[in-house]
Amino acid sequence: MQLRLPRPAAAAATAILLLGAGVARAESGIGTTTTFFHESGGALDMTVLTPSAHATVDMGEAATVSARWEADVVSGASVAVVDAPGGTVDAITSATTLSDVRHVFGGSLTFNDDNTSLTGTYDYGFEEDYRSHGMSISARAEMFERNTAFEVSYARGWDRVCTLLQPRAQEAVDRSRLPNADGCFQAEMERDTVDVSLQTFQGGWTQAWTPVLTTQLTLTAQILNGFQGNPYRAVWLGRTAAQEHHPENRARYAAGLGVRFWVKPLRGAAQLFGRLYRDSWGVESFTGEIAYDQAILAGLRLKARGRYYTQIGASFYSDDYQRFPQGQYFTGDRELSPMSSVTVGGQLTWDVPGNEEGDVLGFLGGLEIVGKADLIFHDFSEFHYGRAEVPTDTALMATFGIEAIF
Protein backbone atom coordinates (compact mmCIF):
# COMPACT_ATOMS: atom_id res chain seq x y z
CA MET A 1 0.00 0.00 0.00
CA GLN A 2 2.87 2.32 -0.70
CA LEU A 3 2.29 4.06 -3.97
CA ARG A 4 5.38 5.97 -4.98
CA LEU A 5 4.17 8.28 -7.73
CA PRO A 6 4.53 12.07 -7.65
CA ARG A 7 0.77 12.54 -7.82
CA PRO A 8 0.62 16.36 -7.88
CA ALA A 9 2.45 16.41 -11.21
CA ALA A 10 0.30 13.56 -12.49
CA ALA A 11 -2.92 15.35 -11.58
CA ALA A 12 -1.83 18.52 -13.31
CA ALA A 13 -0.83 16.58 -16.38
CA THR A 14 -4.22 14.90 -16.44
CA ALA A 15 -5.99 18.26 -16.38
CA ILE A 16 -3.88 19.70 -19.18
CA LEU A 17 -4.13 16.59 -21.33
CA LEU A 18 -7.88 16.49 -20.80
CA LEU A 19 -7.98 19.98 -22.25
CA GLY A 20 -6.21 18.90 -25.38
CA ALA A 21 -8.46 15.89 -25.85
CA GLY A 22 -11.57 17.96 -25.29
CA VAL A 23 -10.70 20.62 -27.78
CA ALA A 24 -9.51 18.28 -30.47
CA ARG A 25 -12.69 16.23 -30.73
CA ALA A 26 -15.85 17.67 -32.20
CA GLU A 27 -17.61 14.42 -33.13
CA SER A 28 -19.61 11.94 -31.09
CA GLY A 29 -17.72 8.83 -30.19
CA ILE A 30 -16.45 6.42 -27.59
CA GLY A 31 -13.02 5.03 -26.94
CA THR A 32 -10.98 2.92 -24.60
CA THR A 33 -7.24 2.75 -24.07
CA THR A 34 -5.10 0.63 -21.74
CA THR A 35 -1.43 1.05 -20.97
CA PHE A 36 0.73 -1.61 -19.32
CA PHE A 37 3.94 -0.48 -17.62
CA HIS A 38 6.41 -2.86 -16.01
CA GLU A 39 9.90 -2.64 -14.62
CA SER A 40 11.71 -5.18 -12.48
CA GLY A 41 15.16 -6.05 -11.19
CA GLY A 42 16.52 -7.71 -8.08
CA ALA A 43 14.04 -7.48 -5.22
CA LEU A 44 12.23 -4.53 -6.78
CA ASP A 45 9.50 -4.37 -9.37
CA MET A 46 6.65 -2.11 -10.39
CA THR A 47 3.63 -2.85 -12.55
CA VAL A 48 1.05 -0.22 -13.47
CA LEU A 49 -2.03 -0.98 -15.52
CA THR A 50 -3.84 2.15 -16.72
CA PRO A 51 -7.23 1.49 -18.32
CA SER A 52 -9.34 4.42 -19.48
CA ALA A 53 -12.59 5.06 -21.29
CA HIS A 54 -14.24 8.17 -22.65
CA ALA A 55 -17.39 9.21 -24.46
CA THR A 56 -17.99 12.39 -26.43
CA VAL A 57 -21.37 13.72 -27.56
CA ASP A 58 -21.65 16.42 -30.19
CA MET A 59 -24.53 18.71 -29.14
CA GLY A 60 -25.05 20.23 -32.56
CA GLU A 61 -22.52 22.61 -34.04
CA ALA A 62 -22.07 24.75 -30.98
CA ALA A 63 -21.17 22.44 -28.12
CA THR A 64 -19.50 19.15 -27.25
CA VAL A 65 -19.80 17.27 -23.96
CA SER A 66 -17.47 14.49 -22.88
CA ALA A 67 -17.02 12.20 -19.89
CA ARG A 68 -13.92 10.25 -18.96
CA TRP A 69 -12.68 7.62 -16.52
CA GLU A 70 -9.14 6.45 -15.89
CA ALA A 71 -7.56 4.16 -13.31
CA ASP A 72 -4.05 3.28 -12.21
CA VAL A 73 -3.76 -0.24 -10.82
CA VAL A 74 -0.36 -0.33 -9.14
CA SER A 75 1.48 -3.27 -7.61
CA GLY A 76 5.10 -4.05 -6.86
CA ALA A 77 7.88 -3.74 -4.32
CA SER A 78 9.78 -0.57 -3.44
CA VAL A 79 12.34 0.65 -0.92
CA ALA A 80 10.72 2.32 2.08
CA VAL A 81 13.89 3.57 3.80
CA VAL A 82 16.42 4.80 1.26
CA ASP A 83 20.07 4.21 2.20
CA ALA A 84 19.20 2.41 5.44
CA PRO A 85 22.12 0.27 6.66
CA GLY A 86 20.88 -3.13 5.55
CA GLY A 87 23.30 -5.75 6.70
CA THR A 88 26.01 -6.89 4.37
CA VAL A 89 24.74 -5.85 0.98
CA ASP A 90 22.33 -2.97 0.67
CA ALA A 91 18.95 -1.57 1.59
CA ILE A 92 17.17 -3.31 -1.25
CA THR A 93 16.70 -6.36 0.94
CA SER A 94 14.28 -4.17 2.93
CA ALA A 95 11.94 -3.82 -0.07
CA THR A 96 8.29 -3.76 0.90
CA THR A 97 5.29 -4.66 -1.22
CA LEU A 98 2.75 -2.10 -2.36
CA SER A 99 -0.58 -2.05 -4.15
CA ASP A 100 -3.19 0.60 -4.75
CA VAL A 101 -5.85 1.67 -7.23
CA ARG A 102 -6.40 5.27 -8.30
CA HIS A 103 -9.59 6.30 -10.09
CA VAL A 104 -10.15 9.58 -11.93
CA PHE A 105 -13.57 10.63 -13.19
CA GLY A 106 -13.84 13.73 -15.33
CA GLY A 107 -15.93 15.65 -17.80
CA SER A 108 -15.61 18.56 -20.17
CA LEU A 109 -17.81 21.02 -22.01
CA THR A 110 -16.66 22.74 -25.19
CA PHE A 111 -18.34 25.61 -26.99
CA ASN A 112 -17.35 25.80 -30.64
CA ASP A 113 -17.45 28.56 -33.18
CA ASP A 114 -16.10 28.55 -36.73
CA ASN A 115 -12.64 29.60 -35.63
CA THR A 116 -12.72 29.57 -31.85
CA SER A 117 -13.52 27.24 -28.99
CA LEU A 118 -13.79 27.47 -25.23
CA THR A 119 -13.41 24.38 -23.04
CA GLY A 120 -13.92 23.78 -19.34
CA THR A 121 -13.02 20.53 -17.57
CA TYR A 122 -13.41 19.06 -14.11
CA ASP A 123 -11.94 15.86 -12.72
CA TYR A 124 -11.93 14.09 -9.39
CA GLY A 125 -9.36 11.49 -8.42
CA PHE A 126 -9.22 9.27 -5.39
CA GLU A 127 -7.31 6.37 -3.91
CA GLU A 128 -6.65 5.06 -0.43
CA ASP A 129 -4.23 7.83 0.50
CA TYR A 130 -4.96 10.65 -1.94
CA ARG A 131 -7.81 12.91 -3.10
CA SER A 132 -7.68 15.43 -5.93
CA HIS A 133 -10.00 17.96 -7.54
CA GLY A 134 -8.95 19.60 -10.78
CA MET A 135 -10.56 22.26 -12.95
CA SER A 136 -9.30 23.84 -16.13
CA ILE A 137 -10.33 26.27 -18.79
CA SER A 138 -8.87 26.79 -22.23
CA ALA A 139 -9.50 29.10 -25.15
CA ARG A 140 -8.43 28.49 -28.69
CA ALA A 141 -8.49 30.58 -31.85
CA GLU A 142 -7.60 29.80 -35.45
CA MET A 143 -6.73 32.66 -37.75
CA PHE A 144 -5.04 33.71 -40.99
CA GLU A 145 -6.98 31.22 -43.11
CA ARG A 146 -6.47 28.66 -40.34
CA ASN A 147 -2.75 28.58 -40.89
CA THR A 148 -2.29 29.74 -37.30
CA ALA A 149 -3.80 28.52 -34.04
CA PHE A 150 -3.27 30.00 -30.60
CA GLU A 151 -4.36 28.26 -27.41
CA VAL A 152 -4.14 29.33 -23.79
CA SER A 153 -5.20 27.30 -20.78
CA TYR A 154 -5.25 27.48 -17.01
CA ALA A 155 -5.64 24.51 -14.69
CA ARG A 156 -6.18 24.56 -10.94
CA GLY A 157 -5.83 21.59 -8.63
CA TRP A 158 -6.68 21.01 -4.99
CA ASP A 159 -5.15 17.79 -3.65
CA ARG A 160 -5.00 16.19 -0.22
CA VAL A 161 -2.40 13.65 0.88
CA CYS A 162 -2.64 11.26 3.81
CA THR A 163 0.31 11.17 6.20
CA LEU A 164 1.17 10.18 9.74
CA LEU A 165 -0.25 12.41 12.47
CA GLN A 166 2.72 14.22 13.96
CA PRO A 167 3.17 17.58 15.69
CA ARG A 168 3.28 20.27 12.98
CA ALA A 169 6.10 22.03 14.82
CA GLN A 170 8.20 18.89 14.93
CA GLU A 171 11.63 19.09 13.31
CA ALA A 172 11.72 17.43 9.90
CA VAL A 173 14.55 15.13 10.96
CA ASP A 174 12.30 13.71 13.70
CA ARG A 175 9.31 12.91 11.48
CA SER A 176 8.39 9.31 10.77
CA ARG A 177 7.17 7.92 7.51
CA LEU A 178 3.59 6.70 6.99
CA PRO A 179 3.72 2.91 7.47
CA ASN A 180 0.54 2.12 5.50
CA ALA A 181 -2.72 3.65 4.25
CA ASP A 182 -4.91 2.05 6.92
CA GLY A 183 -7.29 4.66 8.35
CA CYS A 184 -6.53 7.36 5.79
CA PHE A 185 -9.48 9.76 5.26
CA GLN A 186 -11.41 7.89 7.96
CA ALA A 187 -10.92 10.14 11.00
CA GLU A 188 -8.30 7.74 12.26
CA MET A 189 -6.45 9.20 15.25
CA GLU A 190 -2.99 8.40 13.88
CA ARG A 191 -3.62 9.79 10.40
CA ASP A 192 -3.48 13.35 9.13
CA THR A 193 -4.05 15.04 5.77
CA VAL A 194 -1.97 17.77 4.18
CA ASP A 195 -2.84 19.94 1.17
CA VAL A 196 -1.23 20.43 -2.20
CA SER A 197 -2.31 23.27 -4.46
CA LEU A 198 -1.50 23.37 -8.17
CA GLN A 199 -1.77 26.07 -10.79
CA THR A 200 -0.76 25.39 -14.38
CA PHE A 201 -0.60 27.95 -17.19
CA GLN A 202 -0.05 26.86 -20.75
CA GLY A 203 0.13 28.57 -24.11
CA GLY A 204 0.49 27.04 -27.56
CA TRP A 205 1.14 28.37 -31.04
CA THR A 206 0.63 26.01 -33.98
CA GLN A 207 1.68 27.26 -37.40
CA ALA A 208 1.51 25.85 -40.92
CA TRP A 209 4.50 27.33 -42.77
CA THR A 210 4.35 25.54 -46.12
CA PRO A 211 2.17 22.75 -47.56
CA VAL A 212 4.60 20.22 -46.01
CA LEU A 213 5.88 21.94 -42.86
CA THR A 214 4.13 22.74 -39.59
CA THR A 215 5.42 23.62 -36.12
CA GLN A 216 4.07 23.94 -32.62
CA LEU A 217 5.53 25.97 -29.76
CA THR A 218 4.25 25.24 -26.24
CA LEU A 219 5.07 27.13 -23.05
CA THR A 220 4.10 25.84 -19.62
CA ALA A 221 4.44 27.30 -16.14
CA GLN A 222 3.32 25.52 -12.99
CA ILE A 223 3.24 26.56 -9.36
CA LEU A 224 2.86 23.98 -6.60
CA ASN A 225 2.37 24.67 -2.92
CA GLY A 226 2.16 22.14 -0.13
CA PHE A 227 3.37 18.67 0.71
CA GLN A 228 5.25 17.28 -2.31
CA GLY A 229 7.11 14.30 -0.89
CA ASN A 230 6.19 10.65 -0.64
CA PRO A 231 4.70 10.13 2.84
CA TYR A 232 5.75 6.47 2.84
CA ARG A 233 9.41 7.07 2.08
CA ALA A 234 12.12 7.77 4.63
CA VAL A 235 15.78 8.69 4.16
CA TRP A 236 18.63 7.48 6.33
CA LEU A 237 20.32 10.55 7.81
CA GLY A 238 23.00 8.92 9.94
CA ARG A 239 21.59 8.16 13.35
CA THR A 240 18.01 7.76 12.24
CA ALA A 241 15.68 7.68 9.24
CA ALA A 242 13.18 10.51 8.68
CA GLN A 243 10.26 11.00 6.30
CA GLU A 244 11.62 12.70 3.18
CA HIS A 245 11.41 16.47 3.37
CA HIS A 246 10.94 18.59 0.22
CA PRO A 247 10.45 22.37 -0.07
CA GLU A 248 6.76 23.31 0.04
CA ASN A 249 6.90 25.60 -2.98
CA ARG A 250 7.95 24.69 -6.50
CA ALA A 251 7.79 26.76 -9.68
CA ARG A 252 8.28 24.87 -12.92
CA TYR A 253 8.84 26.23 -16.44
CA ALA A 254 9.02 24.38 -19.74
CA ALA A 255 9.22 25.26 -23.42
CA GLY A 256 8.68 22.72 -26.17
CA LEU A 257 8.99 22.94 -29.95
CA GLY A 258 7.56 20.33 -32.31
CA VAL A 259 8.30 20.21 -36.04
CA ARG A 260 6.52 18.00 -38.59
CA PHE A 261 7.68 17.61 -42.16
CA TRP A 262 5.89 15.65 -44.88
CA VAL A 263 8.28 13.57 -46.99
CA LYS A 264 6.48 13.56 -50.35
CA PRO A 265 8.36 10.72 -52.11
CA LEU A 266 7.71 8.35 -49.20
CA ARG A 267 4.27 9.64 -48.19
CA GLY A 268 5.38 9.75 -44.56
CA ALA A 269 5.94 12.38 -41.87
CA ALA A 270 9.17 13.13 -40.03
CA GLN A 271 8.49 14.41 -36.50
CA LEU A 272 10.96 16.25 -34.28
CA PHE A 273 10.41 17.48 -30.75
CA GLY A 274 12.63 19.30 -28.27
CA ARG A 275 11.89 20.55 -24.77
CA LEU A 276 13.78 22.56 -22.19
CA TYR A 277 12.72 22.57 -18.55
CA ARG A 278 13.85 24.19 -15.30
CA ASP A 279 12.34 24.64 -11.86
CA SER A 280 12.98 26.37 -8.57
CA TRP A 281 14.34 23.14 -7.03
CA GLY A 282 17.27 23.29 -9.42
CA VAL A 283 16.13 20.54 -11.77
CA GLU A 284 16.99 21.33 -15.39
CA SER A 285 16.27 18.96 -18.24
CA PHE A 286 16.35 18.46 -21.98
CA THR A 287 14.09 16.14 -23.97
CA GLY A 288 14.70 15.29 -27.62
CA GLU A 289 12.47 13.06 -29.70
CA ILE A 290 12.60 11.94 -33.31
CA ALA A 291 9.92 9.89 -35.01
CA TYR A 292 8.89 8.81 -38.46
CA ASP A 293 5.27 7.97 -39.35
CA GLN A 294 4.80 6.00 -42.56
CA ALA A 295 1.59 4.99 -44.36
CA ILE A 296 2.12 1.35 -45.39
CA LEU A 297 -1.36 0.28 -46.56
CA ALA A 298 -4.77 1.93 -46.89
CA GLY A 299 -5.51 3.25 -43.40
CA LEU A 300 -2.50 1.49 -41.84
CA ARG A 301 0.39 3.52 -40.45
CA LEU A 302 3.62 2.47 -38.80
CA LYS A 303 5.52 4.83 -36.57
CA ALA A 304 9.01 4.39 -35.14
CA ARG A 305 10.40 6.70 -32.50
CA GLY A 306 13.40 7.40 -30.33
CA ARG A 307 13.46 9.67 -27.30
CA TYR A 308 16.31 10.95 -25.16
CA TYR A 309 15.89 12.61 -21.78
CA THR A 310 18.51 14.01 -19.43
CA GLN A 311 18.27 16.08 -16.27
CA ILE A 312 20.33 17.81 -13.60
CA GLY A 313 19.22 16.81 -10.11
CA ALA A 314 17.55 19.00 -7.50
CA SER A 315 19.85 21.35 -5.60
CA PHE A 316 19.10 19.55 -2.33
CA TYR A 317 19.64 16.05 -3.71
CA SER A 318 22.36 13.89 -2.19
CA ASP A 319 23.18 10.24 -2.75
CA ASP A 320 24.28 9.96 0.88
CA TYR A 321 22.80 12.41 3.39
CA GLN A 322 24.81 10.89 6.21
CA ARG A 323 28.08 12.06 4.69
CA PHE A 324 26.97 14.80 2.29
CA PRO A 325 23.87 16.62 3.61
CA GLN A 326 22.47 19.38 1.39
CA GLY A 327 20.90 21.84 3.77
CA GLN A 328 17.54 21.40 5.47
CA TYR A 329 15.87 19.24 2.78
CA PHE A 330 16.39 15.57 1.96
CA THR A 331 14.85 13.21 -0.55
CA GLY A 332 14.89 9.56 -1.49
CA ASP A 333 13.26 10.21 -4.86
CA ARG A 334 15.37 8.89 -7.71
CA GLU A 335 13.50 11.21 -10.10
CA LEU A 336 15.15 14.17 -8.33
CA SER A 337 18.66 12.80 -8.90
CA PRO A 338 20.77 13.46 -12.01
CA MET A 339 19.45 10.93 -14.52
CA SER A 340 18.94 10.19 -18.18
CA SER A 341 16.85 7.80 -20.21
CA VAL A 342 16.55 6.48 -23.75
CA THR A 343 13.21 5.29 -25.15
CA VAL A 344 12.78 3.33 -28.36
CA GLY A 345 9.54 1.98 -29.70
CA GLY A 346 6.98 1.66 -32.41
CA GLN A 347 3.28 2.22 -33.02
CA LEU A 348 0.82 0.66 -35.44
CA THR A 349 -2.37 2.62 -36.21
CA TRP A 350 -5.20 1.21 -38.28
CA ASP A 351 -7.84 3.67 -39.41
CA VAL A 352 -10.31 1.05 -40.64
CA PRO A 353 -11.44 1.96 -44.18
CA GLY A 354 -15.17 2.49 -44.70
CA ASN A 355 -17.49 1.43 -47.50
CA GLU A 356 -18.51 3.64 -50.42
CA GLU A 357 -20.72 5.73 -48.14
CA GLY A 358 -17.86 6.04 -45.66
CA ASP A 359 -19.48 3.78 -43.05
CA VAL A 360 -17.35 1.33 -41.10
CA LEU A 361 -19.01 -1.97 -40.14
CA GLY A 362 -22.21 -0.50 -41.53
CA PHE A 363 -22.96 1.87 -38.64
CA LEU A 364 -19.81 3.73 -37.58
CA GLY A 365 -18.47 6.98 -38.97
CA GLY A 366 -14.93 5.86 -38.20
CA LEU A 367 -12.91 3.28 -36.29
CA GLU A 368 -9.29 3.56 -35.23
CA ILE A 369 -7.21 0.86 -33.54
CA VAL A 370 -3.83 1.70 -31.99
CA GLY A 371 -1.13 -0.60 -30.63
CA LYS A 372 2.23 0.61 -29.43
CA ALA A 373 5.19 -0.59 -27.40
CA ASP A 374 8.27 1.14 -26.00
CA LEU A 375 11.35 0.12 -24.07
CA ILE A 376 12.76 2.67 -21.62
CA PHE A 377 16.41 2.44 -20.49
CA HIS A 378 17.23 4.56 -17.43
CA ASP A 379 20.62 5.63 -16.16
CA PHE A 380 20.61 6.66 -12.49
CA SER A 381 24.34 7.29 -12.27
CA GLU A 382 24.21 9.16 -8.95
CA PHE A 383 21.40 7.33 -7.16
CA HIS A 384 22.11 4.25 -5.07
CA TYR A 385 20.26 2.20 -2.48
CA GLY A 386 23.08 2.10 0.04
CA ARG A 387 25.92 0.88 -2.15
CA ALA A 388 23.71 -0.89 -4.70
CA GLU A 389 22.79 0.55 -8.07
CA VAL A 390 19.12 0.89 -9.07
CA PRO A 391 18.22 -2.57 -10.38
CA THR A 392 15.01 -1.45 -12.10
CA ASP A 393 16.63 0.51 -14.91
CA THR A 394 14.70 -1.00 -17.83
CA ALA A 395 10.95 -0.69 -18.35
CA LEU A 396 8.38 -1.88 -20.86
CA MET A 397 5.43 0.33 -21.79
CA ALA A 398 2.69 -1.03 -24.07
CA THR A 399 -0.61 0.57 -25.08
CA PHE A 400 -3.69 -0.69 -26.89
CA GLY A 401 -6.63 1.52 -27.80
CA ILE A 402 -9.83 1.57 -29.84
CA GLU A 403 -11.69 4.71 -30.87
CA ALA A 404 -15.10 4.66 -32.57
CA ILE A 405 -16.82 7.70 -34.11
CA PHE A 406 -20.56 7.75 -34.78
Partner: protein, 88 residues
Protein backbone atom coordinates in the same frame (compact mmCIF):
# COMPACT_ATOMS: atom_id res chain seq x y z
CA UNK B 1 25.34 50.01 1.63
CA UNK B 2 22.30 52.27 1.73
CA UNK B 3 22.57 53.17 -1.95
CA UNK B 4 23.03 49.50 -2.89
CA UNK B 5 19.91 48.37 -0.95
CA UNK B 6 17.77 51.06 -2.58
CA UNK B 7 19.02 50.39 -6.12
CA UNK B 8 18.60 46.60 -6.07
CA UNK B 9 14.75 46.65 -5.95
CA UNK B 10 14.81 49.25 -8.74
CA UNK B 11 17.04 47.03 -10.84
CA UNK B 12 14.77 44.05 -10.18
CA UNK B 13 11.72 46.10 -11.19
CA UNK B 14 13.46 47.39 -14.31
CA UNK B 15 14.47 43.84 -15.16
CA UNK B 16 10.86 42.65 -14.82
CA UNK B 17 9.54 45.49 -16.98
CA UNK B 18 12.24 44.72 -19.54
CA UNK B 19 11.23 41.05 -19.51
CA UNK B 20 7.58 41.88 -20.14
CA UNK B 21 8.57 44.25 -22.97
CA UNK B 22 10.62 41.50 -24.62
CA UNK B 23 7.67 39.11 -24.30
CA UNK B 24 5.27 41.68 -25.77
CA UNK B 25 7.58 42.41 -28.69
CA UNK B 26 8.07 38.67 -29.29
CA UNK B 27 4.30 38.12 -29.28
CA UNK B 28 3.76 40.96 -31.76
CA UNK B 29 6.56 39.71 -34.00
CA UNK B 30 5.14 36.20 -33.82
CA UNK B 31 1.67 37.40 -34.88
CA UNK B 32 3.09 39.46 -37.74
CA UNK B 33 5.19 36.54 -38.89
CA UNK B 34 2.18 34.22 -38.76
CA UNK B 35 0.06 36.72 -40.73
CA UNK B 36 2.63 36.78 -43.52
CA UNK B 37 2.41 33.04 -44.12
CA UNK B 38 -0.07 31.86 -46.70
CA UNK B 39 -0.81 28.21 -47.31
CA UNK B 40 -3.93 28.03 -49.45
CA UNK B 41 -6.70 25.58 -48.47
CA UNK B 42 -6.19 23.55 -51.65
CA UNK B 43 -2.53 23.05 -50.67
CA UNK B 44 -3.33 21.49 -47.30
CA UNK B 45 -3.68 17.88 -48.40
CA UNK B 46 -0.53 16.75 -46.59
CA UNK B 47 -1.07 18.99 -43.55
CA UNK B 48 -4.43 17.26 -43.05
CA UNK B 49 -2.79 13.84 -42.65
CA UNK B 50 -3.04 12.50 -39.05
CA UNK B 51 0.75 12.13 -38.93
CA UNK B 52 1.05 15.91 -39.51
CA UNK B 53 -1.50 16.93 -36.88
CA UNK B 54 -0.24 17.77 -33.40
CA UNK B 55 -2.12 16.06 -30.61
CA UNK B 56 -3.61 13.45 -32.93
CA UNK B 57 -2.42 10.64 -30.63
CA UNK B 58 -5.44 11.12 -28.32
CA UNK B 59 -5.61 8.95 -25.20
CA UNK B 60 -2.51 6.93 -26.15
CA UNK B 61 -0.45 10.12 -26.18
CA UNK B 62 -1.96 11.25 -22.87
CA UNK B 63 -1.05 7.94 -21.21
CA UNK B 64 2.45 8.20 -22.68
CA UNK B 65 2.87 11.57 -20.98
CA UNK B 66 1.40 10.14 -17.79
CA UNK B 67 4.19 7.54 -17.62
CA UNK B 68 6.98 10.00 -18.34
CA UNK B 69 5.69 12.59 -15.85
CA UNK B 70 5.81 9.91 -13.17
CA UNK B 71 9.30 8.68 -14.12
CA UNK B 72 11.12 11.98 -14.63
CA UNK B 73 11.67 15.15 -12.65
CA UNK B 74 10.17 17.48 -15.22
CA UNK B 75 6.73 18.34 -16.54
CA UNK B 76 4.96 20.36 -19.19
CA UNK B 77 5.24 21.74 -22.71
CA UNK B 78 4.31 18.38 -24.20
CA UNK B 79 2.08 20.05 -26.77
CA UNK B 80 -1.50 21.17 -27.24
CA UNK B 81 -4.23 19.96 -29.58
CA UNK B 82 -3.64 20.15 -33.30
CA UNK B 83 -4.63 22.83 -35.73
CA UNK B 84 -3.13 25.43 -37.93
CA UNK B 85 -3.85 23.22 -40.90
CA UNK B 86 -7.45 24.18 -41.56
CA UNK B 87 -8.47 20.55 -41.36
CA UNK B 88 -10.24 20.18 -38.01
Amino acid sequence: MASRSSSEPERTRASRVGGWCVLLIAALAMTLLAACVTVRPEDKEFLAEPAMTFGSGGEARAQDEHVFVNREGSFGAGGVSGGGCGCN
